[in-house]
Amino acid sequence: MKRTLFLPLAIFVVLCGAFLGQILRMTRGEMPNDIPTVMIDRDAPAFDLPSPVADRPGADIAALKGKVVLVNFFASWCVPCRSEHRLLSTLSDKVELVGLVYRDSPEATRRYLEQLGNPYGAIGMVEADSRTAIDFGLTGVPESYLIDRQGHIRYAWKRPFTAEEIAGKLLPLVKELSR
């Protein structure tokens, strides 16, 4: 029996292992087309954005220094944002929740918040040229970034929140960073 004749089989077995590994990752929800953000562990981009509503301050990163902040990009035209809104409302007492309104008008945002409630402690309108969104590397709405007390981005979630994600990943991390 010649061993070299089994070489193709050996290569094939390795490939199958890789395929299986990838499928297992997919069943855990890690899809191959999810690109991790490069912003993790970097300084959060600076922003100082005006508020669309009278009863909340605008979003100013300097004013938030020293706090654990969850920045949530949203828009009134975004249907997944609406579905996420209910979950965000449960977060307002656990973390400093900052809403950044992406490509939207102050009027539409006011109507949206009146209708669904306003969980945000501070809220800012992203510039017309989307400067802040580009600095964050936003790929769409809703998207959320967790910033630690030193002002570093520690976590990014690039889709609507789920209850499992909040309970399993976000809140434990908030707890750890708030210590």
Binding site: M1, L5, L15, F19, L20, Q22, M26, P32, P36
Partner: protein, 660 residues
Amino acid sequence: MIPEAGHFALIVALFVALIQASLPLIGAQRGDRGLMELARAGAYAQFLLIATSFGALEWCYITSDFSVANVVENSHVTKPLLYKISGVWGNHEGSMLLWVLILSLYGAAVALFGGNLPPALRARALSVQAMISLGFLLFILFTSNPFARVDPAPLSGNGLNPLLQDPGLAFHPPFLYLGYVGFSMAFSFAIAALIEGRVDAAWARWVRPWTLAAWCALTLGIAMGSWWAYYTLGWGGWWYWDPVENASFMPWLAGTALLHSAIVVEKRNALRGWTILLAILTFSLSLLGTFLVRSGVLTSVHSFASDPARGVFVLCLLAICTGGSLTLFGLRAPVLQGGGLFAPISREGALLINNVLLSTAAGTVLLGTLYPLLADVLDLGKLSVGPPFFNAVFLPLMVPMVLLMALGPFLHWKRGDLAGALGRLKFVFAVAVIAAIAGWLLAGGSSGPLWAAGGILLSAWLIFGSLLEWAERVRLKAGFWRRAINTPRAAHGMTIAHLGLGIVIAGIVGSTAWKTELIRVMHPGEAVDLAGYHLVLDGVDPNVRGPNYEAMRATFTVSQGGKAVTVMHPEKRLYDQPRRPTTDAAIRTNLLGDLYVVIGDPAPDGGYVARLYYNPLAPWIFLGAGVLVLGGLVSLSDRRFRVGAPLRVARGAAAKGALS
């Protein structure tokens, strides 16, 4: 009722496959003719049953039976009939059904035309076919039932992705599958040969026509897909090295190698183990493509039905099929060792180098395609491998191959005369150099890259080298016509196919090196000059109604040197269902190049974004692919392969080639 009949036929086909996969094998082992003959009956029965099932699904689509979930998801009442018919394979479930239909078609063809095959070989090969069929029928019935009903039935369906509503794409999958699945024949014959422990010239002669037929279909399928991408996607390109494209290209490369190595087995009784391995690998790469496309383990610009559960199932099929056959190969291949003597400078030597280069190319494409996946699994980060990698590794493999392609046919079997062949090719080289310089100067000289001249040199070398070899062959003896007719068709086929590749290369070089493109905002009445053409945007009609879409249609008047050439109408369409926009490029070809115009979104100032390209020699890519297929078909019509013909030759060869 009809969907249930289709579903039931599929279940019966599964049981038939079970019988066909087992009893004939036992029969072949025991020499029981009756059990062996079950394979043929089984192959016919499977084909009829699966065709019934496929027909049932077609019926559901044509009559728009919206009680069937698959029809709801992929069809719509207003869809033109052609796309109702082709919509069947425009989705995961239906395309799997087409896959097994073609598999059973090949099986039935072996049963029908394989009358002169040794009964044991035929029984075993058909049994292996049935095993593949069994796996895929299980896959369809358990994970992808196309006949599932919905209750209550909706009034209309979701429609077919408008990008797929195109005649080119309607027939692209059937040809692609005829290719992929066709390689299962070579695979089944290889497994049968491994079980018997015998590979000889006769075996090669039986396998080659099936491989050739599959190769022709795959070539056509790939060319159609590429052509479709070229004229519908509106980016002026025709190949992107995307994983799904690579998935079809790898079996093509391996299949091309197999075609050539089978010749060596037939003529010189050498490279037997290697040919068997290639037959296994070619079909395995087809299966791998199926796995990559259906499981979503890779990121692609093509839309995937990414479903890990289906992925696991296809992976299991792949593991059993390829893993099993490679194990069998490792165990049994020693029996196949040995064979004729091998002089390095000879026809078989040239074919061996061709095989090394082609399989290295296939391996490289495999590596590039899977590298992002491997990196992902090993947590080395997310990355993508794109055209720069493939161009960098593929070219150095293809250049020597093309150089050799013109030379190889001049060498004789056993012992070739390199000096003599090169001497005869001196003239070809001179002509190729002239063609390269002329082409380069015609295309604007130093305004284009220098490598383009090298590309044209390569193409001209191959074209004129092939022509010279053909001319010598038919002129050697008196009477051109008699000689031309008496030359085996396979030889004519080779010349035509090699010519075809030369034309493809010229097309690739021309359209890559000398492409001109212009992207600008144009207002009605404005004119631009592009590659000697004068284009005027006469106007844009914002509301043109098509059969199932609304379009914004632009009108460009094209003239050259003051003489009107043509009027072009690029469109931007919005389909009714699903409501998705598509671009419809307008292409004007004069066979030497394509003028390619795309109209984009309106700009705020009342203009329109227009993209205008001139792609020199681009039509040659698709024309050349057509010539390649023609070469394959001519070779397929060789009398060696015709029914009855192999029998006489086979007996002697089989006796001579019996092994161990």
